[in-house]
C-alpha cells in the first residue's frame, strides 16, 4: 500500500534512471572511446563522469562516447559542449581529474584551464 510520499519517492528515483531517454538539449560530455582511448583508460573516465553527474543530480547533462577524436597521444580525451559556448577539449584525463571538471566546469561554469589541450600543448 503506497502513500503519496512513497509514490513521489519512486518517481524521483526512477526518473534519474530513465531521464537519459528523453531528447534533451543541454550540456554534452563526450568521451573519446576508440581503441586509443580505451587502451589509455577512457572507460574509467567515462564511468567516473556518469557517477559524478548522478551523485550531484545534475540536470540536462548527458555523458556520451565517440570514436577517435584524432590526437591519440593525448587520450583519454573528453570534450564538453555547453549550449551557446565553444567546445572545450580536456586531454590526458583520469578518473581523479573528473571530479574537478564536474565541480568547476559543469556546475560553476569555470573551465579547468590546466587540463585543456591548449594548456597541455603549450608546455612543450
Amino acid at each position: 500500500m503506497k502513500t503519496l510520499k512513497e509514490l513521489e519517492e519512486i518517481r524521483q528515483r526512477t526518473l534519474e534512471e530513465v531521464n537519459l531517454r528523453k531528447d534533451r538539449k543541454g550540456t554534452r560530455v563526450v568521451v573519446g572511446m576508440a581503441t586509443c582511448g580505451i587502451s589509455a583508460g577512457a572507460r574509467p573516465v567515462l564511468l567516473a563522469f556518469v557517477e559524478e553527474v548522478k551523485k550531484r543530480n545534475l540536470q540536462h547533462v548527458t555523458v556520451t562516447q565517440t570514436g577517435c577524436i584524432g590526437v591519440c597521444r593525448l587520450e583519454p580525451i573528453v570534450e564538453v559542449y555547453m549550449p551557446g559556448q565553444e567546445k572545450v577539449t580536456y586531454v590526458n584525463m583520469t578518473p581523479e581529474k573528473v571530479q574537478r571538471v564536474v565541480a568547476e566546469h559543469l556546475v560553476n561554469g569555470q573551465i579547468v584551464k590546466e587540463f585543456t589541450i591548449g594548456a597541455v600543448e603549450k608546455k612543450d
Binding site: 500500500m1 503506497k2 576508440a34
Partner: protein, 598 residues
C-alpha cells in the same frame, strides 16, 4: 541504484514482435555480457514507436540513435561498435534520422515525427510497459493522486467539459458530458468500462496504447470510477491481442501491489478494482450495448437506446463506457488543465488523434497529430507519400464505417465535423491510403463483405439489407451490372442507415455511398463498359497475347487448363476469350512477357 550509462530501447509492440524483436533483445543481452558491459547498458523493451514500416526499431540513448530494420545478426555490430566504442553504426540508422552533416537528428526533427504531437502515445516507445516504476517516473499516477486528494467529482467533470475532449472511439461524443450523465444517474451500484475491442480492420491505435502504456488506461479508469461513483471496472479487450492482454494483466497486478487499485487507494476511502474481459472475434461487440451484453455472458447483440449505458448499462446499472484512446488522454488533461487541451486542435475538435496509417503509403505505422492537420500533411509529410511515385486516389478513414476521401479534398483539416461533411467520418483512426491501382468498386465490396459477415442478424435492415447490397456489388464487379443498379444501391444504403438498430448497420453503407459519390464514373464503367480501369476486378479483365512479342513457342497453350489458346509456328498465338477462365497460367509461363492483362 543502477548506474546505466546507456539505454537500448527495443520496440516490443505486436508489429516489431512478429518481426523478431524478442530475439533481438536476447541477442543484445548475450552480446553485452560477452563484452562485459551488461552493468553499464540497460536493454529495455518498450511499446510502439510508431514507424512500423521500418521495424524492428531500436533506439539507443543518450545519443538518440534511431536504428531501423534491425535483424538479430546486426546486434553484435551495434554492441561492438556503438556501445563499446561509441561509433554509431551509420548504415543501420533510419535514413531520415541523419542530417546533411551526418549528425543524428533529434526525434522531433525526423520528418515522420515532425508534425506529430504524441499525447495518448507519449509513453509508447519511451517506457517499459511491464515496469510500473517507469510509468510513475514520467508523472504516472500523479493525476490520480491530484484527483483523490484535491478534486471533487464535480471538479473533474468541469475540467473535462472545459477541455472539450470528445470520445475517440469514433462517434466523438463530448466526454465530460458522458461522465456527467453517469455521475448524475441513480443507482446503488455503478460501473466503469473500457472498450478495447478495436474491431476495425487495419486499426491498431488502441492495441499500441494497451501494449505500450497500459497504466495510462488503468489510471484514467480509476479517476473515472472516483468521478462517477463506481468501484468496479471492466476492460473489454479482444482476444486477438494476446500481447495487450498480457501487459494489461501484469499492469493490473502491479497497480494492485502498489495499492493503486483495490481498497483505500492512496490512503483515501476510495476503493476501485479492475477486471479484464476478453472478446471472441465479433466486430459487433465493439458496439457499446453489444459489448455489455457480451460482458454479461450473452451473445453480442445491440439493443435500442435510450436507455443509454449512462443510465442503464452493465447488469442494468449506470455504466461509463469509453474508448482506450479517450482514457489515455485523461491523466494529461488533469495534470495540465483544460486550457492545455483547448490550445491544441480546431474549434470543435480539441486535442490530438492517433491514426493507423496503412495501404499504399511509405511510412506505414502509427501517428498522432493535432486535430486540424490536413490529410495532405498526414499522407505526404508524415506518411512519406505514395510508394513507387503512384498517384493518390483516395483515403479511407473510419474503417468499414467510414468513407473515401478523394484527392480534391486532400486539404481538409482532420476534425470530427469536417470529415462528416465530406461523407466520411473520423472513426477510431484507421486511415487506408489508395492509389491509382485500387478499384473503388472493389474497395466498397471488401468493406461490405466484412460488415455482412459481422452483422449480428438482429435487425432486418442490416441483416438483409447489407446482404442485398453486397449481391449488387458482386454483380457489378463480375461484369453483370445493369442500369439502375447504382440507384438501387443508393436507395438501399440510405434506408439501411436510417433503419438499423446499431452503429454497425447505420454505417455499413458508408463505403459504398461515398465511393458512388466520388467515383461514380468507375461504377458506370463497370456496368456499361464492363471495364475495370484499375485492373483489379478479375472478371472484367481479359488476357491478351501481344502479337509483336509472341514467338509462337506454344508454352502458353500447354499451360492453359481450358485449352483456350491456339496457334501455330511463325504465327502469334491467340486466346479464345469465351473459353478463357482467366486463371493467369499463360501469363506466368510466357518467357517473352507477351501476355498482358487488361
Amino acid at each position: 541504484m543502477e548506474l546505466y550509462r546507456s539505454h537500448v530501447l527495443v520496440c516490443g509492440g505486436t508489429g516489431c514482435h512478429s518481426s523478431g524483436s524478442a530475439d533481438i533483445i536476447g541477442r543484445f543481452n548475450s552480446e553485452l555480457k560477452e563484452h562485459g558491459i551488461e552493468k553499464e547498458v540497460k536493454v529495455v523493451q518498450t511499446g510502439c514507436f510508431g514507424l512500423c514500416e521500418v521495424g524492428p526499431v531500436v533506439i539507443v540513448y543518450p545519443e538518440g540513435a534511431f536504428y531501423s530494420r534491425i535483424k538479430v545478426d546486426d546486434v553484435p555490430e551495434i554492441v561492438a561498435e556503438h556501445l563499446v566504442k561509441g561509433r554509431i553504426v551509420k548504415h543501420l540508422l533510419y535514413h531520415d534520422s541523419i542530417d546533411e552533416d551526418e549528425d543524428i537528428k533529434s526525434l522531433d526533427e525526423v520528418p515522420f515525427y515532425q508534425k506529430q504531437k504524441r499525447v495518448a502515445l507519449r509513453n509508447c516507445g519511451v517506457i517499459n510497459p511491464e515496469n510500473i516504476d517507469e510509468y510513475i517516473a514520467f508523472d504516472g499516477y500523479k493525476a490520480l493522486a491530484k484527483v483523490l486528494t484535491e478534486m471533487t467529482p464535480e471538479e473533474v467533470i468541469e475540467t473535462l467539459k472545459a477541455s472539450g475532449l470528445r470520445g475517440r472511439g469514433g462517434a466523438g461524443f463530448p466526454t465530460g458530458l458522458k461522465w456527467e450523465f453517469t455521475y448524475k444517474a441513480n443507482g446503488d451500484k455503478k460501473y466503469v468500462a473500457c472498450n478495447a475491442d478495436e474491431g476495425d480492420p487495419g486499426a491498431f491505435m488502441d492495441r499500441s496504447i494497451l501494449e505500450g502504456d497500459p497504466h495510462s488506461v488503468i489510471e484514467a479508469m480509476t479517476i473515472a470510477g472516483y468521478t462517477v461513483g463506481a468501484d468496479q471496472g471492466y476492460i473489454y479487450v479482444r482476444a486477438e491481442y494476446p500481447i495487450a492482454v498480457k501487459r494489461l494483466t501484469i499492469a493490473i497486478a502491479q497497480a494492485r501491489e502498489y495499492g493503486l487499485l483495490g481498497k483505500n487507494i492512496l490512503g483515501t476511502d476510495f476503493s476501485f478494482d479492475l477486471e479484464l474481459r476478453l472478446g471472441a472475434g465479433a466486430f459487433v461487440c465493439g458496439e457499446e450495448t453489444a459489448l455489455m451484453a457480451s460482458v454479461e455472458g450473452y451473445r453480442g447483440e445491440p439493443r435500442p437506446r435510450p436507455p443509454f449505458p449512462a443510465t442503464k448499462g452493465l447488469f442494468g446499472k449506470p455504466t461509463l463506457l469509453n474508448n482506450v484512446e479517450t482514457y489515455a488522454n485523461i491523466p494529461q488533461i488533469i495534470l495540465n488543465g483544460p486550457e492545455w487541451l483547448q490550445s491544441i486542435g480546431t474549434e470543435k475538435s480539441k486535442g490530438t488523434k492517433v491514426f493507423a496509417l496503412g495501404g499504399k503509403i511509405n511510412n506505414t505505422g502509427l501517428v498522432e497529430v493535432p486535430m486540424g492537420t490536413t490529410l495532405r500533411e498526414i499522407i505526404y509529410d508524415v506518411g512519406g507519400g505514395i510508394p513507387g511515385g503512384k498517384k493518390f486516389k483516395a483515403a479511407q478513414t473510419g474503417g468499414p464505417s467510414g468513407g473515401c476521401i478523394p484527392a480534391e479534398h486532400l486539404d481538409t483539416p482532420i476534425d470530427y465535423d469536417s470529415l462528416t461533411a465530406i461523407g466520411s467520418m473520423m472513426g477510431s483512426g484507421g486511415l487506408v491510403v489508395m492509389d491509382e491501382d485500387n478499384c473503388m468498386v472493389d474497395i466498397a465490396r471488401f468493406f461490405l463483405e466484412f460488415t455482412v459477415d459481422e452483422s449480428c442478424g438482429k435487425c432486418p435492415p442490416c441483416r438483409i439489407g447489407t446482404k442485398r447490397m453486397l449481391e449488387l456489388l458482386n454483380k457489378i464487379a463480375e461484369g453483370k451490372g445493369e442500369e439502375g443498379d447504382i440507384e438501387k444501391l443508393i436507395e438501399l444504403g440510405e434506408g439501411i442507415k436510417m433503419a438499423s438498430l446499431c452503429g454497425l448497420g447505420q454505417s455499413a453503407p458508408n463505403p459504398v455511398l461515398s465511393t458512388i459519390r466520388y467515383f461514380r464514373d468507375e461504377y458506370e464503367e463497370h456496368i456499361r463498359d464492363k471495364k475495370c480501369r484499375a485492373g483489379v476486378c478479375q472478371a472484367l479483365l481479359q488476357y491478351f497475347i501481344l502479337e509483336d512479342k509472341c514467338r509462337s513457342c506454344g508454352l502458353c497453350a500447354k499451360a492453359c487448363p481450358a485449352n483456350a489458346i491456339s496457334g501455330q509456328r511463325k504465327q502469334p498465338y491467340v486466346i479464345n476469350q469465351e473459353t478463357c477462365v482467366k486463371c493467369g497460367a499463360c501469363m506466368e509461363k510466357c518467357p517473352f512477357d507477351a501476355i498482358v492483362k487488361r
